[in-house]
């Protein structure tokens, strides 16, 4: 098992596309790191560069302290699970899993032991004699994982491995992969565009956009302290509300003034916002930090706003309200027992301790 380090890595394709820009990243030994971002953000390219399937244009990649820029994929001691599984269609499940070991000249009984052990862990023992086309998507997925774990490599690379599975199976495989990580104590780098996969499985999340790493941090850090508007909007569902507003000095401290409401900044954030008094910022608050006043514990005039309900979306465990406040639309995730009705006014309470503020120019987080 090993540490993976990327230092100032760039990837420019021959057609001029700059897929990855100055990526710096350290994946610690035994860490489950997720590269997360929308499609085309460079996360898969980054993974493929670590695998050795893409040459890097600039920078260095180290695995276990050794620079691997010019090392062939087969000599990097990594295993990769592909989105479409990439099983060898003409080989049985057993042969698929044994192929890598055979090429590495492992003794026959060792190969057999490892393949059967991996098959047992993944629950595919009865499938060993089948060909990939006789397997379901979930089973193929397991074989692909099995092919990776028999080799016992330093690093596992996963390229959106769950995206071809149906929703139910995805949830199941998610927890299985997490268990597997505990069991193998492996270094895993996992690419996905699904924030739920990232949040649930990762020790560390790397958020990318347009080839640039936006933020690196644990799931809680990324959620609670997003580095910029992109990260704030990408993580969380429904997405964070962003409202153009101005910081003003008013009754007893600083206030956020938007087109349709005015709320008070908690004392502890005043220092950070001191430079922005009378300037425009982007105020952010997550739907889950907005409450129907009827159910709110701490409703005060200075954190309560009034708007008009546009849409009510009951989800069972909670209800989403789309509310127009002045010129802005805000989404609130409120108690399902809410009495909110379309076209009726509603009072909403902001949990201002969970507020966010972003610089309008740089889009970076102020708080």
């Amino acid at each position: 098992m090993a540490q993976v380090v990327l230092e100032h890595v760039d990837k420019i394709y021959p057609n001029g596309v700059h897929a990855v820009k100055d990526a710096n990243l350290t994946v610690e030994d035994k860490e489950f790191t997720v590269l997360l971002g929308p499609s085309g953000c460079g996360k898969t390219t980054t993974l493929r560069m670590i695998a050795g399937l893409e040459e890097i244009t600039k920078g260095t990649i180290k695995i276990d302290g050794k620079v691997v820029n010019d090392v062939e994929p087969k000599d990097r001691d990594i295993a990769m699970v592909f989105q479409n599984y990439a099983l060898y269609p003409h080989m049985t499940v057993y042969q698929n899993m044994a192929f890598g070991l055979k090429l590495r000249k492992f003794p026959k009984d060792e190969i057999d032991k490892r393949v059967r052990e991996a098959a047992r862990i993944l629950g595919i023992e009865e499938l060993l004699d089948r060909k990939p086309k006789q397997l379901s998507g979930g089973q193929r997925q397991r074989v692909a994982v099995g092919r990776a774990i028999v080799r016992n490599p330093k690093v596992f690379l996963f390229d959106e491995p769950l995206s071809n599975l149906d929703a139910k199976l995805r949830v199941q495989m998610r927890s299985e992969l997490k268990k597997l990580h505990h069991r193998l104590e492996a270094t895993i780098i996992y690419v996905t565009h699904d924030q739920i996969e990232a949040m649930t499985m990762a020790d560390k999340i790397v958020i990318m956009r347009d080839g640039v790493i936006q933020q690196i941090g644990g799931p809680h850090e990324i959620y609670n302290k997003p580095a910029n508007i992109f990260v704030a909007g990408f993580i969380g569902s429904p997405a964070m509300n962003f409202v153009n507003s101005t910081v003003i000095r008013g009754d007893g401290g600083l206030w956020i003034k938007a087109s349709g409401f005015q709320v008070k900044v908690p004392k502890e954030y005043e220092d950070a916002l001191a430079d922005y008094i009378d300037k425009e910022i982007i105020f952010g608050i997550r739907p889950e930090n907005i409450y129907d006043k009827f159910f709110a514990r701490d409703a005060q005039p200075y954190n309560t706003i009034t708007g008009r309900v546009d849409v009510v979306e009951p989800l069972g465990s909670e209800t989403l309200l789309h509310v127009t406040v002045g010129e802005d639309e805000i989404v609130a995730k409120v108690d399902p027992k809410t009495k909110a009705e379309v076209d009726q006014p509603i009072d909403l309470v902001f949990d201002m301790t969970a507020m966010h503020a972003f610089d309008k120019e740089t889009q970076k987080a102020i708080l």
């Binding site: 021959p14 695998a51 050795g52 399937l53 062939e72 994929p73 087969k74 990594i78 295993a79 990769m80 592909f82 989105q83 479409n84 990439a86 099983l87 060898y88 269609p89 003409h90 192929f99 890598g100 090429l103 590495r104 990939p132 086309k133 092919r147 080799r151």
Partner: protein, 277 residues
């Protein structure tokens, strides 16, 4: 509903008509081959007297001056290497074109495609002179080389297209598993490409087997003549034994049909392209 039914009937009728037009001449040849001369003089479709016989076949097979037995052997001597050699070269070339980047790749490929447009008649004289210069006229090696050269471009084109239906990820997985380029090709790609290779083999073999023109300009010693060259020789100067000619033609046709029958399953897959399903 009714309209759909009528359309279906029209469609099936047209299909049958086309099939009939296609199969009728063959049926004529077949009937001519299995009936004695005097029965077919009034037309093979005349069934007042019908005494089928295999005599024409045995006569053609053991014909004194143009024996098809010898012709079949000669044709195989040419057709087998003239199928294997271009397949071997063009499969690898097709793989290269589908997977690797190299300078002037596009130009090279366009040049290869251009040669597909060359009519054989145009190259007859230069090819003959070339063979003559190398002392390969009237030798099978010369003909095999021409057929190979003629087959390589289209097989390269065909195989390149086939390879591009195989997902690259499979190769990448093999590469990570520890396979070199060589092993990737022979352990992964080659087995997956078998349907494509089988299709190309069937087509190339048929082409070489039924070729008359190239054989005519390169092979002329009577004992070396190929099967296709022997059929016209069965025509007498004063008398044409249609039954004999028809039997000879059928026997020559049967070989490619056998090849198709053997490779049929792979052939269909090859035409559809690769898939995991």
């Amino acid at each position: 509903m009714k309209k759909r039914k009528i359309l279906k009937i029209i469609r099936i009728t047209v299909m049958w008509l086309v099939a009939l037009v296609w199969i009728l001449p063959f049926l004529g040849v077949f009937m001519t081959a299995i009936r004695p001369m005097d029965e077919i003089l009034d037309g093979w479709w005349n069934f007042k007297v019908f005494n089928p016989t295999l005599e024409n076949f045995s006569k053609a097979w053991t014909h004194p001056t143009a024996s098809l037995a010898k012709g079949t052997v000669n044709s195989l001597i040419v057709a087998i290497p003239a199928t294997v050699i271009p397949l071997l070269i063009a499969t690898m070339a097709g793989y290269g074109f589908s997977r690797y980047d190299f300078p002037s790749k596009k130009l090279t490929f366009v040049l290869i495609i251009l040669t597909l447009a060359l009519p054989q008649q145009m190259i007859a004289v230069p090819v003959f002179q070339l063979l003559n210069a190398f002392g390969l006229v009237d030798r099978y090696l010369g003909l095999i080389l021409i057929h190979s050269a003629w087959g390589i471009p289209w097989i390269t084109f065909f195989m390149r297209n086939f390879f591009s239906t195989i997902p690259r990820n499979i190769e990448e997985a093999a590469r990570i598993d520890g396979a070199s380029d060589f092993l990737v090709f022979f352990r992964i790609i080659f087995p997956l490409a078998l349907p494509g290779i089988a299709s190309a083999a069937a087509l190339q073999f048929t082409w070489v087997w039924s070729d008359f023109f190239l054989a005519l300009i390169t092979i002329y010693s009577p004992e070396k003549l190929l099967a296709t060259q022997r059929i016209p020789l069965m025509r007498g100067v004063y008398h044409v034994d249609w039954g004999l000619l028809a039997a000879g033609a059928i026997m020559v046709m049967i070989v490619p049909l056998l090849v198709y029958a053997v490779l049929q399953k792979q052939y269909v897959k090859g035409m559809v392209g690769w898939s995991l399903k």
